[in-house]
């Protein structure tokens, strides 16, 4: 929300750059999906659900899954 051009703006105020929301949201939607999939493979794959059969992924990231705080088994 744009602040009204305040007369009381302190002269010492540093210009803080903003990045437009419209520019950021597509990146967030795209990368958010990629990140969630990556986190799913570390935190939950071959636990309660699985996209790949077997236990290879689960066993490989096993210690990380425990120590990062995910329910492992």
């Amino acid at each position: 929300m744009a602040q009204p051009a305040a007369v009381s703006t302190p002269t010492t105020a540093v210009e803080v750059p903003t990045i437009s929301v419209r520019q950021t949201l597509p990146w967030l939607a795209f990368f958010g999906l990629v990140a969630l999939i990556a986190m799913y493979f570390v935190g939950a794959e071959q636990g309660a659900t699985h996209l790949i059969s077997g236990a290879g992924v689960h066993e490989w990231v096993h210690d990380g899954r425990h120590l990062l705080g995910f329910p492992c088994h």
Binding site: Q23, G47, C72
Partner: protein, 261 residues
């Protein structure tokens, strides 16, 4: 000037670096408790933890038919987990910072980033930690893994959504009543909603009665330390990259006149 893509790249770099630091903590502080828990599991094959009862998760902690050795799991496996998780988290932190920058009062970009990451740590890890504390091997009933996974991720999702709403509330009130009132009201609103949610959502008590309390504590301490290292590392590296970028942006305007070549 800074772009969303640039913030994403900075976040990925910060996440990768912080992932290495988190690996160091997990390896040195965490692995002893994981190994101790596995020793308990192998010493007393309890009835509450028969891995064979869950066909979706054939799960071995050092049995004879193991896929990877404990040595591999505790080094390359652990490193893979911290790097994949850390880099993904760093990228998200970069993009969330892109949205927050310049929109939290007059806070500088690197301070806004630190606040964003701190809120993320509390909402996505620390508060869920308090409700659903992480468990070492040998703790947890395989029959409830599906339900526990759903409630765990549900609680995190709720916590993050409520935290984002609380940040909006805090910035809105800060403009009218000052930063202290804004932050206090936002924090209080988040706290009340999450306390109610924690009371309403199911709790699981699945630690075997003979499981050593010190091992359980050491493991949970190590898990907290690992995640704290990861998030703090992301905040620091991302902040340093932003400070450097804004400094270059500020100085890159003037020298052009000095060097007409």
């Amino acid at each position: 000037m800074l772009s969303a893509r640039q913030l994403l790249v900075y976040g990925l770099i910060a996440g990768f670096v912080a992932g290495l630091l988190a690996f160091g903590v997990a390896r040195t502080v965490g692995e002893p408790s994981v190994n101790a828990a596995i020793a308990v599991e192998e010493g007393a094959p309890s009835t509450t933890h028969s891995h064979t009862s869950s066909p979706a998760a054939p799960h071995d902690h050092g049995d004879e038919d193991e896929l990877f050795s404990r040595g591999t799991q505790s080094t390359w496996g652990l490193l893979t987990a911290t790097q994949v998780f850390g880099t993904a988290l760093g990228g998200l932190a970069g993009l969330m910072s892109a949205l927050a920058m310049g929109r939290m009062g007059r806070l500088r970009s690197e301070v806004t980033t630190a606040v964003t990451v701190a809120v993320g740590f509390v909402a996505a890890y620390a508060v869920p930690f308090a409700k659903y504390p992480p468990n070492p091997p040998a703790v947890g009933d395989p029959d409830t893994i599906a339900e526990r996974t759903t409630t765990f991720f549900g609680f995190i999702a709720l916590s993050v959504v409520v935290a984002v709403a609380a940040v909006y509330l805090a910035t809105y009130l800060s403009r009218r009543h000052g930063g202290f009132v804004g932050v206090a009201a936002g924090s209080a609103a988040y706290g009340v909603v999450m306390l109610v949610a924690a009371r309403l959502m199911p709790t699981y008590h699945e630690v075997p009665h003979d499981f050593p309390a010190t091992t359980l504590y050491d493991f949970r301490f190590a898990s907290f330390a690992t995640q704290l290292t990861l998030w703090a590392g992301i905040a620091v590296v991302l902040g340093l990259l932003l400070v450097r970028a804004t400094r270059t942006a500020r100085t890159s305007v003037a020298p052009r006149e000095l060097q007409p070549a």
